[in-house]
């Protein structure tokens, strides 16, 4: 059998030369070994499938590392001059879609722009370059009694700039909201090559202290755009009062990089000063929901979340431990945890804990502690520190993560809806991982996203083994099925409510908005007049829309019809 060769696209020499002139030869490469490193993103089932199929379209033609906003802008200008596609790249933690084009694509990796430029105590904000991460900003801010209000599930892996263009969900959404609520301004090199600054900083002579620009707010167009509006080069994030001391207690370093190594000491640290983490288990889903609602409406705490089955891989040091703990139902499936901080005084902690205890007594929950399931509370110890600052990218001991169903809404409806959506999806397509059935279909992750507990986010993730293409395809089907299910049931925005790039669902789901795709395509045209940036993501350009394969559209229409929606035409 003839061996199929995978040959990446190459840039025309004049384009490469023009780019090299901007950054110098040491910060640009089209070496095969280098470009391959950028050819599959973290949460990228499409990229993985292309690897299996030896499809080169996810392999960038070159990687370029600018060192400043000015260099980013110059690169974008060159790309526009030569009509060359390009993608912004921070850490590759993106959900879906690498360069989804068969044309040569420039990957603009902003890893050299990695400084915390300033922490301003007066305006309680920090100015960061695009590649600065949560760990950096928290380390700098905590020295000044401030913090950014949360971190997602992988501190050093997530960059705030790219998070601003995507989801930005973190554990302390309950008090601080998602990252989108915590951005003062961004500096964006638009896809067309202009500089756009949002917030008060956009007005000459005004400091960067307020999040709304003059008049209509343009940040809301960038937020959640998945990179289609341009490249964020600087971001000013809000900071909040931090009572937990000038540094965080660190667990011992020195974990060997051995897959089967399982000493929990590296994951175990105490909660920071003036912080308490309360774990509660419930006898059933109904009592869990009742408690979540009551705690939410008590308006206390910084974080209020239910982990469901997630603890199994989150707190297990090896894949084998994960599987064993799921099988043995080691962790209580119906649970929640409350993060309490004493910002006003120590007495705030006592007050809030008393309120939680009242509610748990009312709802039939039981606190996990040394007297009740001591082994479980010990195994949950990674959360003590991680409720504030995640260091767990390596600890996610499950298979690859290739997509999510993330719904929003009031706790009762969103929790039940997620169970229903997920159950239907796995009934239709089957499961991809041990946590799918009897796990996420029963107890999805729930994040309170509002201090009155008015609205919540749920998360049901897909974890196929990336070495098996059929599981990757199944994972994709589960995600798309879930999204279409929510739309067909007229339940909220589904997974697309957080700015996750979900094309082709945006373009072929006119029910959303309605016709949100028309508005978004118009917005993309404003930012990206040549349709070059982040091809295939979030909202197709007109050209991408027209070129979307008939066969794929037919598949999408089949899924629509399965959920009672009429097929759509281009």
């Amino acid at each position: 059998m003839e061996k199929k060769k995978c040959i990446p696209n190459r840039l025309p020499p004049e384009v490469y030369k023009a780019l090299e002139n901007i950054v110098g030869p040491e910060y640009i490469s089209q070496d095969r070994a280098v470009v391959e490193c950028y050819s599959k993103f973290c949460v990228d089932s499409t990229g993985a499938l292309k690897k299996h199929a030896k499809d080169p379209s996810n392999i960038p033609a070159c990687i370029i590392l600018p060192g400043s906003t000015e260099e980013v802008q110059a690169i974008v200008h060159v790309c526009n001059r030569y009509k060359t596609k390009f993608i912004p790249f921070t850490n590759g933690m993106i959900t879906f879609n690498g360069p989804a084009t068969n044309e040569p694509t420039v990957c603009i990796h902003v890893s050299r722009m990695n400084r915390v430029l300033d922490v301003d105590e007066t305006t309680m904000s920090a100015r960061l370059e695009a590649f600065a991460d949560y760990a950096q900003v928290q380390a700098d801010a905590m020295k000044k009694g401030l913090w950014n209000g949360g971190s997602p599930l992988a501190t050093t892996l997530s960059k705030l700039s790219s998070q601003s263009a995507f989801a930005g969900v973190w554990q302390t959404d309950h008090k601080y909201g998602t990252l989108g609520r915590n951005i003062v301004s961004i500096k964006l090199v638009t896809a067309g090559g202009d500089i756009l600054v949002t917030g008060s900083d956009t007005v000459a002579g005004v400091d960067d202290f307020w999040e709304y620009g003059p008049g209509p707010d343009l940040f809301s167009l960038v937020r959640g755009s998945g990179g289609t509006t341009g490249i964020v080069t600087e971001i000013v994030v809000k900071l909040h009062a931090w009572p937990g001391g000038k540094s965080l207690p660190e667990p011992p370093a020195g974990r060997p990089s051995i897959p089967t190594y399982a000493d929990p000491k590296h994951d175990t640290g105490p909660a920071p000063d003036r912080y308490r983490l309360l774990w509660i288990e419930f006898p059933d889903f109904e009592s869990e929901l009742a408690a979540l609602r009551k705690i939410g409406q008590a308006c206390i705490g910084q974080g209020l979340n239910a982990t469901g089955v997630y603890n199994a891989y989150y707190c297990s040091q090896t894949q084998d431990m994960t599987l064993e703990r799921v099988e043995n139902k080691f962790f209580p499936p119906y649970n929640c945890y409350v993060i309490i901080g004493g910002v006003t005084s120590e007495k705030q902690i006592a007050y809030e804990e008393a309120v939680v205890r009242d509610i748990i007594a009312e709802t039939g929950g039981t606190f996990l502690n040394d007297a009740h399931k001591a082994d479980v509370i010990e195994a949950l110890a990674p959360w003590n520190l991680d409720c504030i600052r995640h260091v767990t990218g390596f600890r996610m001991n499950r298979h690859s993560y290739c997509g999510s169903n993330i719904l929003g809404g009031p706790v009762d409806t969103v929790a039940r809806k997620t169970r229903q959506v997920w159950s239907k999806a796995i009934e239709t397509f089957g499961e991809t991982y041990v946590t799918d059935r009897g796990g996420m279909d029963d107890t999805p992750f729930l994040y309170s996203s509002n201090h009155g507990g008015r609205f919540w986010l749920t998360e049901a993730d897909v974890y196929p083994d990336q070495t098996k293409p059929e599981l990757l395809q199944k994972g994709q089907a589960l995600v798309v099925c879930g999204i279409i299910n929510t739309i067909a049931d007229k339940y909220g925005p589904g997974a697309n409510g957080l700015g996750v790039s979900i094309e082709p669902v945006t373009s072929f789901m006119p029910e959303v908005g309605p016709n949100a795709h028309l508005l978004f395509r118009g917005i993309r045209d404003i930012f990206d007049p040549n349709g070059l940036c982040a091809p295939g993501r979030q909202i197709f350009s007109k050209q991408e829309y027209e070129q979307f394969p008939e066969q794929a559209l037919a598949g999408l229409n089949k899924m629509r019809q399965m959920h009672g929606l009429d097929p759509v035409e281009r």
């Binding site: 904000s125 009694g145 601080y176 202290f209 209509p216 007495k347 009031p410 008015r454 339940y491």
Partner: protein, 488 residues
């Protein structure tokens, strides 16, 4: 083809379109310095479909449309700068839903603060209200225009309160944000796709669409204890204010000078129904001012739904600690003044007593801006000095300062007062003071009327993008044309 009255009558019904002189004159101006301009007609709509049909017709005939809810914007938003139709939504005034399980309401544009708050209070809830808002102002428009509410010092309780929205786009299409976006139940702000897309339509003065429904957070009415901190000047307020906010003490918090405080406390003055108002006697007002400290910081420590007294107690203790450390007094009333605590408890729900300030001279020219906390003293001084240099009696300046998000920023309102006969002079001075404040770093984030060219002239990149957005979404430029940076 020009749009005819009969065309609009065909949509909204005969008797619901007015083009008589009295009506046109009434809709030609507000109390602001924005120049009056006559619309061609005023259409009283009662449904979203009627709005959609008018907008579609306006596109066909290139007729400007100006949305109008209560007419109490006071910055010229509802003045039809290029004529055309005023779409008057004041009759769309239903409270469509009150969700007591999830603490939100759904309202139409004609619902006023007084109407909504009265309804909610009867059920044990409250809507967050901006200080000094007219009770007849549209809640929907006020939130859309980013009026900061009194609870804005609290990150959790006073900001990001808009949930789902429904609007008519400039092409007449209906569009929804939040959970509503798929056509089902409301209940969350995110979506479609972009997490906080609704923000695009804020502070837009109706130039990018007409919002027709809005979901807003409400909360149970809290128990509270109000405290007063007398201060000699703004400079000595900065440090305790910052510390109080850093420790997240209290929910509502505002700083008033004695001009504004005396206006609120003057029981001989009433809240005017219309703006501008008729000037009234100032004798009692002047006497009250002489009894008041120059500045007073007011802090409301609120309970929560559970163990309310315990919550108030630990915050009060922390507040006393901050004041002791700063060597300033913490009082439960204002010396020499009776009823101050009761007044402010009431103001937390219905904060319109400050509107009595219109009794002073009838007209108020406000300077509303935001700034970092370390600039507030300097900016107030600049406003005062520039006014004095321009011949204004600088003892006649009212000042209100509101911390935003635990004093990350401050919202400031500085008022210049004038009689009708002084309006031209004071308008000119008001522009000079505006310019001086902008030059010193004050941020006018809602650049309405005469402020528009001054602010957008300093924000070229942002303005260009806004114009592109306007061109893309409103290619016929029918939505309230001429406002903001959309001058062509």
């Amino acid at each position: 083809m020009a749009l005819q009255k009969s065309d609009i009558e065909a949509i909204v019904g005969a008797g619901n379109v007015a083009d008589d002189d009295a009506t046109i004159a009434a809709f030609s101006s507000d109390q602001s310095a924005v120049a009056p301009r006559r619309p061609d007609m005023v259409a009283y709509v009662q449904s979203v479909e009627q709005i959609q049909n008018i907008v579609k017709l306006a596109n066909e005939t290139l007729t400007p449309v100006t949305p109008y809810s209560s007419g109490l914007n006071l910055h010229g938003a509802a003045i039809a700068g290029q004529g055309g139709i005023i779409i008057n939504m004041s009759r769309m005034n239903k409270i469509l839903a009150l969700d007591e399980d999830n603490w939100y309401v759904i309202i139409e544009p004609g619902v006023t603060y007084e109407q909504l708050q009265n309804h909610l209070v009867s059920k044990g809830y409250r809507i967050m209200v901006p200080f000094g808002v007219p009770p007849g102002r549209s809640v929907l428009t006020s939130y859309l225009e980013r009026d900061p509410v009194m609870a804005a010092p609290s990150f959790e309780h006073g900001n990001f309160l808009i949930m789902d929205t429904e609007l008519v786009l400039p092409n007449g299409a209906l569009f929804k944000t939040g959970n509503w976006t798929s056509g089902g139940e409301p209940g969350a702000p995110a979506g479609p796709i972009r997490n906080s897309l609704f923000r695009m339509w804020t502070a837009a003065q109706g130039t990018l669409g007409i919002m027709t429904k809005m979901g807003l957070q409400i909360e149970p009415i809290p128990q509270r204890k109000v405290f007063f901190i007398p201060l000699h000047n703004v400079a000595c307020a900065v440090k305790p204010l910052k510390q109080i906010q850093y420790r997240e003490i209290g929910t509502e918090c505002l700083l008033l000078n004695n001009f504004n405080l005396a206006a609120m406390l003057n029981d001989e003055w009433t809240v005017p129904a219309d703006f501008p108002a008729a000037p009234a006697s100032t004798e009692r007002f002047t006497a009250l001012r002489s009894l008041l400290p120059p500045w007073v910081l007011i802090v409301s420590v609120n309970g929560l739904p559970r163990r309310s007294a315990e919550k108030i107690a630990y915050e009060e203790e922390a507040l006393r600690q901050v004041c002791d450390e700063a060597n300033i007094e913490l009082l439960e009333t204002i010396p020499n003044i009776s009823g101050a605590a009761q007044l402010f408890e009431s103001e937390m729900l219905r904060p319109w007593s400050i509107l009595k300030k219109f009794n002073f001279k009838g007209h108020v020219r406000d300077l509303t801006f935001k700034c970092p906390v370390n600039k507030v003293d300097e900016l107030i001084e600049i406003a005062s000095k520039t006014s004095c240099d321009g011949g204004y009696n600088c003892t006649h300046i009212g000042v209100y300062v509101l911390p935003l998000e635990r004093a990350r920023a401050l919202h400031c309102e500085i008022d210049l007062h004038c009689l009708m006969s002084e309006a031209a002079t004071v308008n000119s001075l008001w522009l000079k003071v505006s310019e001086a404040l902008m030059n010193a770093g004050a941020y006018f984030d809602r650049p309405y009327g005469a402020w528009a060219p001054m602010v957008y002239g300093r924000a070229a990149g942002y303005s260009d993008m806004l114009r592109n957005l306007k061109k893309e979404t409103d290619p016929n430029n029918i939505m309230n044309p001429g406002k903001l940076c959309f001058t062509n």
